[in-house]
């Protein structure tokens, strides 16, 4: 363990989302939905009841024309890197959600979750959703589910996993090819889908990775950094109003 409560490891996966490049097309959100077998309701209008791992927010600066500015903000799980615990892992009474210190990924194991929803309350980013119903898909879609991600059941919480199943697949290949595990890179579904390549993903501890370079950029900021949750998702924008909004009062 180091001073900040983390086990030393050469890997810390993180993400950088360039809001100046984001067009709000929501391809990341759709790709995430398909990749992770996220079910949907016939009526998705009530966002307190629907499930979205990659939510896309519409933000504006609140000014009148001609000073009006807006931006889209895709929001996955931040996989908070705060010392010892993320807000959600700190409150989970059954260890269903745990941060893996060797990769930085905050996982959530559905059969272990008791559905108490403490983690949803603790998460300052609203990154977690609750399964109010058993998942259901219209007739042919059940045949199209990905076998790489298990479906959830009624009564459990779910959230973005940084596509950890893709990491497992990439590591399997690396074992066959005889690579070091710290060299393994992979691409989550949202990153792959983004047509304007606004999302970068990789190892934050690798100085040569794009995500590490972007995280140190002058344009970089994090959501609610004043809470010291240390999100591993960085945003980039040249607009000061967005920087201010990211740390505005709750």
């Amino acid at each position: 363990m180091s001073d900040n409560g983390h086990t030393q490891s050469g890997v810390l996966y993180g993400m950088a989302i360039d809001l100046d490049k984001c067009t709000g097309c929501m391809a990341c959100s759709v790709a995430c939905q398909a990749e992770n077998n996220i079910s949907f309701r016939p009526d998705e209008s009530n966002k307190l009841r629907s499930i979205t791992w990659m939510e896309v927010y519409y933000l504006d600066n609140g000014a009148e024309h001609p000073d009006y500015r807006f931006s889209y903000l895709p929001r996955p799980c931040m996989h908070c890197n705060a010392p010892h615990h993320s807000p959600c892992t700190f409150v989970c009474p059954v260890n269903a959600t745990v941060r893996d210190e060797a990769t930085g990924i905050v996982g959530h194991i559905y059969p272990r979750c008791i559905g108490c929803r403490y983690c949803m309350v603790a998460c300052p980013y609203h990154a977690r959703d609750f399964n109010w119903w058993d998942p259901a898909w219209p007739e042919p879609m059940e045949q199209m589910l990905s076998p790489k991600v298990s479906t959830r059941m009624r009564g459990v919480v779910e959230k973005c996993s940084f596509c950890s199943h893709r990491l497992n697949a990439a590591r399997s290949k690396a074992y066959l090819d005889g690579l070091e595990m710290s060299e393994v890179t992979y691409t989550p579904a949202c990153v792959e889908a983004c047509p304007s390549q606004a999302i970068a993903f990789g190892n934050l501890l690798d100085e040569h990775s794009e995500v590490a370079r972007l995280a140190k950029s002058e344009r970089a900021f994090r959501l609610l950094s004043k809470l010291n949750t240390e999100p591993k998702v960085y945003y980039l924008s040249r607009h000061p109003w967005l920087h201010n909004l990211a740390n505005a009062s709750l």
């Binding site: 745990v98 893996d100 210190e101 060797a102 990769t103 990924i105 996982g107 959530h108 194991i109 559905y110 059969p111 790489k148 991600v149 298990s150 479906t151 996993s161 950890s164 199943h165 990491l167 497992n168 697949a169 990439a170 590591r171 399997s172 290949k173 690396a174 074992y175 066959l176 090819d177």
Partner: protein, 186 residues
Amino acid sequence: MKEEKRSTSGRTMLGGLFFIAGLIVALIVGWVVFPKVLYSQKTQPMNFSHAAHEDSACEDCHYFLPDGSYSGTPGIENCRQCHEEPMTDSEQERILVEEYIQKDREIPWLVYGWQPDNVYFSHAPHQAAELECVQCHRDVTADEEKLPILYENRWTGYSKSTMKMVECEKCHAERGASNACQTCHK
């Protein structure tokens, strides 16, 4: 006085006998009858003799794919390479050729270690850690003529030989492998 005492000890003896008889019955039910009732015995759709295939290497049918995943249960494409036409008079081979290969149907093999849907398992890291196949799988090199019976738990639907999470965790802990949730769960 003496008589009364004798009769009390007689009653105790009788009680003890009933207790021991009841215990034996309970043990037989718990150790012999219940496990028999709990597990149904399932046989494979056809027999496969590992002993009859000793001229081939294991890797001819059990191999890694280039993306790092494992070939899994061999499909009929593996069988077809040799058994397009029957090679012997064997009844099982006739079933293979006529029922499956010629009809282009996969054999619905029962899997002895089928895991629940939320489990992720990859053979590649285990091979890299130099584990022997027989540490988890039965030894088929010892002249196995007949596929074993699959014992299916009537209650849970799992096979009796499905590996439990505690076994995975124990070996991971002993070897210093990661026990993080998403290492084995998806």
